[in-house]
Symmetry: C2
Subunit: 476 residues, 2 copies
């Protein structure tokens, strides 16, 4: 799998100088936009050079060795190019073209021909009907249609989150999210129809990949349920999955898109719980949640202290915490007394109402009291950004969370654009709604709990026993 | 109630030139920021003029008649100022100060004294512990702490949505939302502890208020359940309510904030359904939903056609629609045939996959085919804003929706900041997530269905019979 992310040379089959040619955008990305700097060849009818990539009429005409082929031609000619790749000795192929298993009987016949070639020559195929690979570590990117501005936004900085995404359209949304969040991409792979390489192969690769800390997945179907679950349960890193097809209509729509089999959603749901996979409920959760793992210590208990200078959010967050299976921490009279001594506080019981007038010193004392208390496992701060001091206090809070080993899911009750601009400027993990912040605490706790009980869980024989165990532990 | 929103003269009790004086910000707003232009007086110990408002040591010293008093002093002196107002003949008082029923036994005693004065003199009290009133029609605003920039953002344009909001903090969030949405405020009232005027009084007023089309509410408790429901069911306009206290912890937190009684949430939920009140699930829904009422015709049936140029959203929206109790419209072969003739479409069955390359003409033909079809009640378009033509097509779509009398809840799968900037520039009702768009269709349909069955419903005697009827109609 390594070669897909670290090729030394690539051929883009179907790249030409015709107007609107998609392959040409890949040549341009690799040669002109990215500083990746390895060899790129183009294959097209006229054997013409494309954006500085030497052109050939056939793959077999290329005199140098080639590690990876990217095919982006009409579907009808893909099988013959796969055969050329086999002949040339290329063992890694990304097929970005569509029109195979999702495109009727003719498409399926072409898919079978490709499968046979690949099997006969020990080739690994990614796709078809996909966008390919991005690796921000070496800046290798074979997504078609990428513009220089976009590339610089999401690839310039390498982060800790890797994504496995079945649909190209979702890749674009996830990429755009990096422009406004503290979390950055490590590697992204769009696996499309998964004729060969599937979600479980990629999970295994990202688990071994040292610079990946969190794995996000967008799936329209599961190719092999047992393989997925067996792989996922060996993965120690948090896995966040958004899967469509909760309903029959959703599953039907997904099948017309990437041609999988519909899966029984309840079985998938249960399997996720048993394998410690966190199922998220929207695309936005898929890119909002990772920062609770990358930027905060894990939540090791259910007891949360809320503090806010906007009283209404005490009630709103208390409802959300309880609904998420967490608890409002009970603060002892001694702790409340300590809090009251820090300044003019409206209400020292949880949720703590800070009132409008607070100094930086008061903020810092409150953080220390709550984070050091054995009555509190994590914080849900809801401070309005009404004064520059507040963001300075938040920066300090993030440091203190790491010192004390307890997380804070911070929501600033301001217009989203204000929250987003502060998040970028100060690089602090701010959430965009109280719902998001509470959900982040919930997923952090789930991940921690699963890690704690994992070994015991899988020593139990059979899914029934594991379910019972999970129920007894309050996870199901 | 009219006088609270249309006073001819106001006294701000507690406005002075001391640093950080909150009353002074109200004088400034009324005299310097807003073009409202009526008489404002200040009452303070030194009888000093504040931001051009003549100052007096007592309310009774003011020589002119005064319509409305706004009190923003420490709680301890509020009762005596209410008595001064009574003596002066002022019958409308807004108490913005806090520290009454939410502030222990001493606070409750002061509240009783105020109540007695008000009852004896036929005065109506708004608050205490509130932010007061904004009327964008005449630009009257007695919120404390308002800055000129903010005022111009939310008050310059008068819109169709009026809000009843128990908490000042939530008022600020809702106001900020107007800066980035097509929906504008009509009137906003923050009712705080509701010692006298409550949510039902305000509902009744906004129902009669001609320029209000949609009513939004944020509540921490219900003062009088029967009165609320009896009033709500007479209101013909859509009512959206976000109420905290779904859980015991949430109710407890809310009580410490605005001092109400906790209500049984299940009973409230059921009552909302019977009275046609739409309960929303977050503050963001409270400001995201009104545009489906103000900018689109009602949804009169469950059958929704989805079209997208990003195939993944077909599956995502199908799941969401089914979960919301709506249906994917079944398109007949004849309709699919018509759609296929408009251009190079990937998939003409619902969800319709437009593929990447579409002309304006193709878009317009698709709109006509779907909106004119008796197989379709409403649209869920998910077009990516990848080309300027797409937003032009959306502008045309909004017009066509009004022509055909069917709604479209439009989600553009781009970064939120891009969606928001297009929404503002072109003044089209774009939603910020697929979840929001589907929810908008759901609330539109609920409102329509309730309107249809309302009279029949309330001719049935007793809540039990009404519940049965609602269940039979598929609403419960």
């Amino acid at each position: 799998m390594h070669t897909f992310f670290h090729p030394d040379s690539v051929v883009v089959i179907g790249a030409s100088n015709s107007p609107f040619n998609l392959g040409a955008t890949i040549c341009s990305a690799l040669k002109e936009i990215s500083p990746w700097g390895r060899d790129v060849y183009a294959v097209n009818r006229k054997a013409e050079t494309v954006h500085g990539c030497p052109g050939y009429a056939s793959v077999t005409d290329i005199p140098q060795e080639v590690d990876l082929a990217v095919i982006i031609t009409p579907a009808a000619v893909v099988p013959q190019f796969v055969e050329q790749c086999a002949e040339k000795g290329i063992r890694r192929v990304i097929i970005e073209s569509s029109g195979f298993s999702e495109g009727g009987e003719q498409g399926r016949a072409m898919q079978r021909r490709i499968d046979e070639t690949a099997r006969a020559h020990g080739m690994r195929i990614m796709g078809p009907n996909c966008l390919g690979v991005l690796n921000t570590r070496n800046q290798f990117c074979c997504f078609y249609g990428i513009q220089a501005d976009d590339f610089n936004t999401f690839a310039q900085e390498s982060g800790a989150v890797s994504y496995i995404i079945q649909s190209g359209g979702i890749v674009v949304i996830v990429l755009e999210s990096f422009a406004t969040d503290v979390v950055k991409a490590n590697k992204i792979v769009s696996i499309g129809n998964k004729s060969d390489i599937d979600e479980a192969d990629m999970l295994e690769y990202f688990d071994r990949d040292e610079s990946t800390e969190v794995i996000g997945m967008y799936l329209e179907n599961i190719k092999d349920g047992r393989k997925f679950i067996e792989t996922a349960r060996r993965v120690g890193k948090p896995i966040l999955v958004f899967k469509v097809g909760r309903t029959g209509e959703g599953a039907r729509a997904a099948m017309s898109h990437t041609a999988g089999m519909a899966n029984n959603d309840d079985i998938f749901d249960n399997a996720c719980t048993q394998a410690g996979v966190i199922r998220v409920n929207s695309i936005s959760e898929l890119h909002a949640m990772p920062k609770i793992f990358t930027h905060m210590p894990p939540l090791k208990g259910r007891r949360i202290a809320v503090f806010t200078n906007s009283g209404a959010f005490g009630g709103i967050t208390a409802d959300l915490l309880v609904q998420a299976g967490l608890e409002m921490a009970r603060l002892s009279p001694a702790t409340q007394e300590k809090l009251s001594r820090t300044g003019r506080i409206f209400n020292a019981a949880n949720p703590i109402d800070l009132g409008p007038a607070l100094s930086m010193q008061t903020f810092l004392e409150i953080f220390d009291i709550l984070l050091s208390s054995d009555e509190v496992d994590g914080l849900l701060p809801v401070p309005s950004l009404w004064h520059p001091m507040v963001i300075d206090a938040i920066v300090e809070l993030v440091k203190k969370c790491h010192e004390y080993g307890k997380p804070a899911a911070i929501y600033t009750p301001n217009a989203v654009h204000k929250t987003v601009s502060y998040r970028q400027k100060y690089q602090v993990p701010l959430f965009e709604s109280p719902e998001e912040a509470v959900r982040a605490l919930e997923v952090s706790y789930r991940q921690y709990r699963y890690g704690e009980m994992k070994d015991a869980l899988w020593n139990l024989s059979g899914a029934g026993h594991r379910e019972e165990h999970l129920m007894a532990q309050g996870v199901l």
